[in-house]
Symmetry: C2
Amino acid sequence: MSLPNHFELLATDGPARTGRLTTPHGVVRTPAFMPVGTAGAMKGVHWREVREAGADIVLGNTYHLMLRPGAERIAALGGLQKFTGWQGPMLTDSGGFQVMSLSELRKLSENAVTFRSHIDGTKIELSPERSIEVQRLLGSDIAMQMDECVRLPAERDDIERAMRLSLRWAERSKRAFETAPDGYMLFGIVQGGDIVELRQLSARGLIDIGFHGYAVGGLAVGEPQSVMLAMVEEVTPILPQDRPRYLMGVGTPDDLVEGIARGIDMFDCVMPTRNGRHGVAFTRFGPINLRNARHAEDPRPLDEESSWPSARNTSRAYLHHLVKSGETLGAMLLSEINIAYYQQLMQDIRNAISNRGFTDFRERVRAGWAGGDIAPI
Amino acid sequence: MSLPNHFELLATDGPARTGRLTTPHGVVRTPAFMPVGTAGAMKGVHWREVREAGADIVLGNTYHLMLRPGAERIAALGGLQKFTGWQGPMLTDSGGFQVMSLSELRKLSENAVTFRSHIDGTKIELSPERSIEVQRLLGSDIAMQMDECVRLPAERDDIERAMRLSLRWAERSKRAFETAPDGYMLFGIVQGGDIVELRQLSARGLIDIGFHGYAVGGLAVGEPQSVMLAMVEEVTPILPQDRPRYLMGVGTPDDLVEGIARGIDMFDCVMPTRNGRHGVAFTRFGPINLRNARHAEDPRPLDEESSWPSARNTSRAYLHHLVKSGETLGAMLLSEINIAYYQQLMQDIRNAISNRGFTDFRERVRAGWAGGDIAPI
């Protein structure tokens, strides 16, 4: 069954695409990178800075939010946007992935996964239907089907079993989503590990069910980048041209460029904030580790041509000092600098695709990363 | 010997005063509250927010900065303002207080205090001359003399010995400061514990030496508020009317109001940021502990009439969730809210003194605090 389409393709350049996805809380320009606000907050970054950095949409983690403060409480408080103060589109995952990675004593059945909360040990059951209910209570603009994600490497039998279970859960998720108001979206998730045939089966199965958009899941879970990109390359040609495509949990700036080169429209990753907390800045010179003593007396900023003020105005010596001293401000500055870098990269890519200059841009930006940091003073 | 005066008294209302202190990096409106950026950073708050909150001047801790990144390095990088990006006046303490409270194996002599760094164990000697040298290297607008501060309660002999040593160190600090360029300032520190006679002796001794301004030190170190205020009340009438007066390490909003009522012009304290990190907001209803379960489902902001956006727009439920979840954003929001509350309080007090309405204001604001928080929903 076909669902209304809220995605508009504006331009393509080879497989690379740029478009607009219209959600109840605003428009998302694609390709889009979604910073991750796990528990209803971006670690170390004010929402106003996420917005100023150019993010149109952010991701919230259903698993964390359903445990604390609870989906019903967030609904009573008017939904995620009202609760957090982020006045824009939000995508939520299904919670399934984090049940598998964070909770204890989990048990998977055809019907649901049961687990104990990592916060207080409460026993909880998460079914595809409950996942959709929780995401509806949160008020997320884009909900994800519940799926089972297998870490790689894995046996073909395990991958196939999880893929087929995920397809059955996709159907149940879709049925559970039928009562959602117009404008809200549900994405299906292609599984199938690193096996092309299973990926294709999964994609075709999801298309038969019909979703507002399609995600490629179960990647960036331990496999080399080449395997991830090979899977993306096999899947995107099968997916409907007119629907948005989302590569989940990815990735480095290079992963993003290469994903876009293979027809991906959306990404999410904790990397900008997590690496920021660990003293690493993403720049056009590649990643820079501010812990390194070479920065201790360097009065130069990370990138004097950056469009983001703190990347342009803060000295490497100061960032080095903050990181070495464990000052929160170091994590705050590097997290906002990284989010801004990712967003600027997306904006540059959208422009490049619009101007049919994506191939040149891709070469140029990769050459910059390969060239490495500016010479020490 | 009299020093040039950079303080202009604009209005008084009883002992309460409002004025302007002109420093090499800008004007400080008094009464002034100085947020504390211990190691060259405000914990959880961007410098741009400190500025927007209305702070004219901040305090840096000489002890921390001399250990890491080091005074000579900061000097090579252009001084504290250039290093940190805080483009305004900075006051630095002498380092002596923190040597006593943080370092190990310290030994006090007539000449200096020697200690081991709490960071790497290096043996360091801090004399009054070296303290001034360090503060000059940091480029602080207002340097403090090195003194010895005794925790209360203490024996009279100990208090007197420390007070007399502090006076001799005051003379040495002043001599060491003679080569400082015009516009930079050195403050003497009144010691004498909780003994009026010693406080008066100390104040008169400092006036004989002559400083740009006078601090009252060795308070807020364990004694009741009444003792602290009694000491202030005895000391301020002795101090020159035309020089700024600074009550060190103080305090709660009520301490500030009461200090100003006794003729104090400047304050510093870690309380706004430290209590913010511990989940406490300062408001016109008094301190509010956001950990308390009463806020869990409260959609109302801390204070809908606050001039600070995040105090006016962020729900108590969200702040409660952030604090309970240990999200950095909770500490960030409460720290900026608290700094803004302190700064707004100072602005209101400056206005009240200018309009000769300080007594009314003092009664009104204290009644607000005594009235407590708004009723639960």
